[in-house]
Symmetry: D2
Subunit: 283 residues, 4 copies
């Protein structure tokens, strides 16, 4: 029976890539269902995502792509479409983003296998989320125990086999070391419309400045705080009537939605880091 | 020197189309800059738009595509990217959409060659638009002269060589005959969020129903009034405070934007009729 | 200590209403924090919502307003600001709207006291929501038991003292009798941008028509199905790539948000029925 | 015959203001059509805008308000509703915002009397706007003539009696002296979502940072560049496909709309400066 695969690749641009790749798919009896590509003329890098159906074996496909990839200097992967991504979610006191991700996952909207939830607060601090059977890890942190706590996070990543780590309003600043360790596989939600209002208490900063819109930004974590490649942003109108607390309340909804969408694109292989930016074949 | 071309095609879906098409481009030294495709699994029809650069001659390219097209039963065209589309704009008393299209064209945002503007009202009814050197045709209409007036529209299409006809708030109902004549090359703006509020005075209908959003719809003209394939829609929040006149005012801005965007996509070969619907590779 | 109250009233318009009402508030040592008003010039009806602080006793205030109300033929109420509204939620198989309302209530964003949840499906059909201690009532329905089931709903309203009934994707068509019984205190979410796509399977209707936006509508229930006064609507862009299932998925998010906002405005006394429409002092 | 007036005031908050003001209106036979108010609890300042109809003479009204204003330490004005505001528009090479304002004014959507247009470029640099009979002033500027040129702007403000000055993509940096001179009566459009991307070439900054939305900000001019009180902001999604030129093109539409709306609110007396922020009774 035909099975669906998602191919995601990027490589230096040159003529003939699509022809070569679609040739390999065609040679394995594949039929292309979706295709998106981007040619970054600034950097000369080419990005391609193809969903195709075939009755061929995965191994035969992989061999064919590996050969092409070598010729074309590709970063690439081919995975069964919809295969769940093993995910670790880190959270602090505010668990609305966690609740949203759990809900989307249970509805079948996010192909994720949430292998663990960890928090610097105990489980009973989760007020809106029911994590059910998902393992919960309380990883308390003090000024003196930061290195130790981060070591436990790394261990958790290793043991759980997490491919993706989500900072779902995890309010601790990562050390450079941990940020580097998670780089490329960790998504954070910042509760402002970056680059506006970096750092702490962005809604209070926004209120003080008197802006007429607030927003949220989902980005990959890098060592440079609040400077990682942006995956998704959204914003909403606010007025002079909105107190900082109102902004916090309105912002919760934007944060959840922006993070949920960015994660959804990541786990369906629609996002490619591209230097300090991203290429996103959103839907 | 390399020149850019836009290829737009659709055909019955089968494996290997992209491989074959990109092969033809590659064989002519082409480099693909943009590519968008859609496989309509309901109807089994495949749609493809590719922008590519090549130093090859148009005639060689056309021969290659013609041969492919014959094999694959394609509807297709290849045109120099950005080549202006000859356009006739029909308007009545309200000329805000005309003004918007003229502005976009003058800014270089719409590759159109506006060959004529025609109206059932005289030129001095145009209050906000300056048409400059564009030929203006006053085509008055009465109950008795409808057939004759429509014959003049047809003649104008023929003489001007217009490839696209835009009904920019042209408030006359076309006869079935004229609608059929213009079918597939005529875009209308309807001032409601279709299928809500078909027919006359949609803003007044919307006000009476107490809706909390109003919208506009750009669609291809078919014999079936307000039922043609939709190209673009947008909507905006309104409140109980908005009188019918307020809706008309707010709607003007939505109408202009929706029509402008639909026209922009059409003249850059991003829109494909697909039965009663459209495929739109928007940007 | 000063306590905050919300006054909501409507009456035939005439000069001096605001002066008289604010006079009564001033006379009781009140300070106005928020005020919104609307004068419907079509119907001659006046709507006013005032939030004020005072140290005066409720009884004294009520006496003062009652006297005014009698003079000015007012419909009115004054309630402590933020007082929870007793609410019954009806649901069927899809519980995303229920989950959203529970979440908003637990976050303290909706001043509701959810006195019961009832469904025509058993409790284990709830897949995404944890209702915790809230009483759940399974009210199965068959073609023959409709009258009986609706009698149980009425009994539930009476026993629970519910002031508000929410149809949170409750997929049964109410009888005229039940609709009349609930009229004015029952909010439904319809999964289309009314008046488009009334009736069953609106996302499938939308897909068939090829619209470029989908939406949702929260409205008061009246005997006339899908024709009740609209409280809130929102819409979102979709494309030719969206299957009916994609529309269902995207629509879930819009439905939840639109219903949540409409309910939020209702329970903070910001919505006034106004014939077939509503006046909404949204925030 | 009844005439409509707009009253706009602000003063230190205290109980009884609305009662007193509406009493004065009532005493002059006025009927309130619209009313909006805001009590800034942080600063203790109260803002009120009332539209009312009356048959009383302006002088009688003004006397009544003047007396109240003195008691309550009010900043206030009462003007005939819809009275055009004398406006000077400054522009440089890009005239899309100018074109938009002219269009809105001609459509009757903006109650403005455009007394002059001035530019540091000659009239023939205006590519999309037809200014018709409006006086045009070419005020060239060089590094050495800045002081002199700014003196000519001041003279133009004096001679024309302009109450409002609009910087409609006027690309010169004002001296502190001119900024102070124009303070409180001058609106600028900045082509970014402030406080992101202050200073020059914001679209290029946005492209380099890889943001997923761009925006525009209309604000009052103060001596502190790009830091004036914000009146309105809007933003729109962009993608990795958008080049800096695409952002410039998409941004033009947002800029026009944001500036148009901010100006519309200013000339209908809906905007109140409030320290470093604004109170906006938008519609």
């Amino acid at each position: 029976m035909a099975q669906s695969f998602t191919l995601a690749l990027n490589c230096p641009d040159r003529p003939g890539i699509v022809h070569a790749v679609t040739g390999a798919i065609f040679a394995h009896g594949g039929n292309i269902l979706e295709s998106r590509q981007f040619d970054d003329r600034e950097t000369g890098r080419f990005f391609l995502r193809i969903v195709f159906e075939t009755q061929a074996a995965v191994s035969a496909l992989s061999d064919a792509f590996a050969s092409l990839a070598s010729d074309l200097a590709m970063d690439w992967k081919v995975v069964p479409t919809g295969q769940p991504v093993k995910t670790l979610i880190l959270v602090s006191k505010f668990d609305h983003c966690l609740g949203y991700l759990l809900y989307k996952t249970r509805m079948g909207e996010l192909p994720m296998d949430i292998v663990a939830v960890a928090s610097n607060h105990p489980a009973n601090a989760l007020t809106v989320s029911t994590i059910g059977d998902i393992p919960f890890h309380h990883l308390p942190i003090t000024k003196d125990s930061k290195a130790e706590q981060e070591a436990r996070i790394k261990a958790l990543v290793e043991e759980s086999g997490a491919e993706l780590i989500i900072l779902a309003r995890y309010m601790q600043i990562l050390s450079d070391d941990l940020a580097a360790y998670l780089s490329g596989r960790c998504i954070n939600i910042h509760h402002s419309f970056l680059p506006s209002f970096k750092g702490a208490k962005p809604y209070h900063q926004a209120h003080a400045r008197g802006v007429k819109m607030i927003g949220a930004t989902a980005h990959y974590v890098t060592a440079d705080l609040d400077e990682g490649p942006i995956i998704h942003q959204a914003a909403e109108a606010v007025t002079h009537e909105d107190s900082p607390d109102d902004l916090v309340r309105k912002g919760r909804e934007i944060e959840s939605r922006v993070l949920g969408r960015a994660v959804g694109w990541h786990v369906t292989h629609r996002v490619f880091p591209n230097g300090a930016k991203t290429v996103v074949f959103g839907n």
